[in-house]
């Protein structure tokens, strides 16, 4: 039933380079986000709780001003306690056990002139099943985004979308290469991303290394992890002639194993990788964070390098030959096993890099890779299964859709929007944007 796509479109080098250069140019000339106003509403790093090990908490601030003295009622499983924010706006309640807890903000305890952004919705539920500490957000005041002009917002979202899309592209090309050469839908691919993020977080935050050293070592570790995937699991499976559906279910099992190992080691928290490049770089009318620019630059350079590798080097050409037709490639003297090993190493390295960038912008958590796995699949499917260039285009589209949809739709639906777009495009063009129709023989 599962067949690998026979003839993925080759990534036209010039087009890829042109796209890369164009994006970089757009980034440099750019587009004016007010850096502070557009920061992602990401959960702040949670303080490790003492006592029971389970806690619910958060920070309440009105713009940049912490809100002191606000009361939050935390209830669940017969437990009930009121927390009060301190002078930094921080509150936290130790809860007795795992379970579901609701936190209700007492609007009357807010200082004069401070209003919840959504006064009808001041109750939040947190599940302490997989995470010991939950962070609860109660945004105050008018949404800052609404204060800026719609055009600024669009441009900001556009930049974020491209940045996110490039990040996705690095990981999606990994999926696409592996799918192209082996026909395997790897449901554990997200864990390669989490792996990269966790390693680089460990190196920077725990060992205190510089970001560049951490990136270098993370890439080596990711490459080794990819090699290990192939050598320890998938090569033996190929030897046993295990079917593709079977192998796909093995990746599901692998994904569960890796995810819970990550959870056991890292816990349920979300942490950010610190790069040290937090300064705002004004370029023309634009204010960009240096790390965003660097991230986009790295993505574009690496993607261009991958394109060069696939089109210009012997190994790259052999890779495309194997994607095209493994039997024929083997018959013409290409060592297919070696190519697949290289693809695993390359795919894992790219995905590890994607994990680092993701960890910088959206934080590191045990489940981060799994959360965007579907977006990766969507990107790969959109572009046409097995086409590396298609994966890039698909990833950019998914990145843009995810971010731009927040202009009209609630932010918590943005992933849903990206997935709906996937289904709609498949409806109109089943083979994906760059895929080809296949024949029945």
């Amino acid at each position: 039933m599962l067949t690998r796509s026979r003839r993925p479109r080759r990534p036209p080098l010039q087009a890829l380079l042109a796209l890369g250069a164009g994006l970089l140019f757009a980034g440099l000339l750019g587009v004016a986000p007010a850096a502070a106003a557009t920061a992602e509403p990401a959960p702040s790093a949670s303080a490790p709780a003492e006592g029971t090990g389970f806690s619910v908490g958060g920070t309440i601030a009105n713009g940049d001003e912490p809100v002191e003295g606000a009361e939050i009622l935390v209830e669940g499983d017969g437990f009930s306690e009121v927390a009060t924010t301190d002078d930094e706006g921080v509150w936290r309640v130790q809860v007795p056990a795992q379970g579901s807890y609701t936190s209700t903000l007492d609007v009357d305890t807010l200082p004069e002139g401070v209003e919840p952004r959504d006064p009808d919705n001041v109750m939040r539920t947190s599940n302490l099943n997989t995470t010991p500490n939950a962070n609860v957000l109660f945004p105050m005041g008018e949404s800052t985004i609404q204060g800026t002009s719609i055009w600024d917002t669009v441009l900001t979202r556009l930049i974020y979308g491209i940045n996110f899309g490039l990040m996705l592209a690095l990981a999606a090309i990994g999926i696409s290469l592996i799918f192209g050469t082996t026909g395997l839908n790897n449901f554990a691919h997200g864990e390669l991303l989490t792996f990269g993020a966790l390693i680089s977080f460990f190196l920077t935050a725990v060992l205190g290394w510089s970001i560049w050293a951490a990136i270098a070592v993370t890439l080596v570790a990711s490459a080794a992890f990819g090699w290990f995937h192939d050598a320890a699991i998938f090569k033996p499976l190929r030897r046993r002639r295990v079917g593709l559906v079977q192998a796909m279910i093995v990746t599901i099992g692998l994904s569960i194993v890796l995810r819970y190992v990550f959870l056991m080691i890292f816990g349920g928290r979300t942490e950010f990788i610190q790069t040290g490049f937090n300064q705002v770089v004004p370029i023309g009318p634009a204010n960009l964070q240096a790390s965003s620019l660097i991230s986009m630059g790295i993505s574009v350079v690496v993607l261009a390098a991958v394109a060069l590798f696939l089109t210009k080097t012997r190994i790259g050409k052999a890779t495309r030959a194997v994607s095209d037709n493994a039997a024929l490639a083997a018959a013409s003297g290409i060592d297919v096993d070696r190519i697949i090993r290289i693809v695993w190493v390359l795919g894992a390295t790219l995905t590890g890099l994607s994990g680092i960038l993701y960890g910088v912008f959206r934080g590191v958590s045990w489940i981060m890779g799994f959360q965007i796995l579907l977006l990766l699949f969507a990107a790969v499917t959109l572009g046409g299964l097995g086409s590396a260039f298609g994966a890039l285009v698909g990833a950019i589209i998914i990145g843009l859709v995810t971010e731009l949809s927040t202009l009209w739709l609630p932010a918590d639906l943005r992933f849903a929007t990206a997935l709906i777009i996937l289904i709609l495009i498949l409806l109109l063009r089943p083979q994906g944007i760059l895929g080809r129709r296949e024949r029945i023989g």
């Binding site: 067949t3 690998r4 026979r6 039997a327 080809r436 129709r437 296949e438 024949r439 029945i440 023989g441």
Partner: protein, 305 residues
């Protein structure tokens, strides 16, 4: 085609030639065009398949034979063109309806249903089984008698094709040749008017070839029309009543097997300039190359439309 002599044939109205009219056609195709990207795989202006006869469709690699087969049977959609079966228009008719109208095909690469038994494979070929409706299926008395009828027919066919000993085996356990036989027998379950065989001899060991040939001839004796794609020229000469030659997507020649091989267009299509080589041998060499190519196309061909 330098000779202006007009050739006639009892199957044909008027002179013999590519696209000639038949006395009693079962399939008529007009202006059927299929393009893949920039390539035109099939461009058939006009062709008719005679009723009650065995017609061979031959041509060199990439001539568009299988694509044309796919188009006629609804497994692929043409960019333009019309074709009819028994006078009924088949344009835009889905594959399963084409089969129900009495035009049943087999595939180049056998599609036996591996994890069903040989008998279940056969029963699947039958028509008018009310138990194939999801609601009727729940009540055995509603489909039991039809099941007995078709089981009898399946057993007859299995005996004829010498597969009766394998009745309860999984189809996956059959040899390649037996699968070809099973696929042909299965196609006959519905008593089709036209059987379309895509390379029935490919991959069949020589011992089975004779019995397969016999079965195809028997079909004609039962009044069934046969259209088949084949590379084995000896087989084509041996059993076909009519030969249609395709090259580069077009019908380039037609005629009875004894004479069509001498047609200059056929020689050009197959050999280019190598006129001195024996055509039968050359075509067989080509067919070896084509089979090698087909192995690699195997997985791609399993893909959906």
């Amino acid at each position: 085609m330098s000779e202006p002599t007009v050739v006639t044939h009892p199957l044909v109205v008027g002179p013999v030639g590519p696209g000639c009219k038949k006395v009693d056609p079962i399939v008529i195709a007009d202006g059927v065009v299929r393009r893949f990207g920039g390539n035109t795989a099939v461009h058939v202006d006009h062709v008719e398949v005679p009723r009650g006869k065995i017609t061979a469709l031959i041509g060199p690699n990439g001539a568009g034979k299988t694509t044309f087969f796919n188009l006629l049977t609804g497994f692929d959609k043409p960019n333009e063109g019309d074709w009819s079966f028994n006078g009924q228009n088949l344009g835009n008719v889905p594959a399963f309806k084409v089969a129900r109208r009495g035009m049943v095909r087999t595939f180049q690469l056998t599609k036996s249903l591996g994890r069903l038994t040989v008998l279940q494979n056969m029963l699947l070929g039958a028509t008018k089984q009310p138990g194939e409706n999801v609601f009727t299926a729940l009540f055995k008395p509603l489909w039991k008698s039809r099941e007995e009828e078709i089981t009898t027919r399946a057993d007859d066919l299995l005996a004829r094709f010498k597969l009766d000993a394998k009745r309860e085996d999984y189809a996956a356990s059959l040899s390649g040749g037996q699968r070809k036989l099973l696929e042909m027998a299965r196609a006959l379950m519905s008593e089709p008017e036209l059987v379309m065989l895509d390379e029935p001899m490919a991959g069949v060991n020589p011992a089975l070839t004779q019995s397969l040939l016999g079965h195809i001839k028997e079909l004609k004796n039962d009044g069934t029309s046969v259209l088949f794609v084949e590379h084995d020229m000896h087989m084509v000469r041996h059993i076909s009543d009519w030969v249609i030659v395709m090259a580069e997507g077009k019908v380039v020649a037609e005629g009875p097997p004894e004479t069509v091989m001498d047609d200059q267009a056929v020689i050009d299509a197959y050999l280019g300039a190598h006129h001195d080589t024996d055509l039968g041998d050359m075509i067989e060499q080509k067919s070896v190359a084509e089979r090698a190519r087909r192995v690699e196309a195997k997985e791609a061909s399993l893909a959906d439309d």
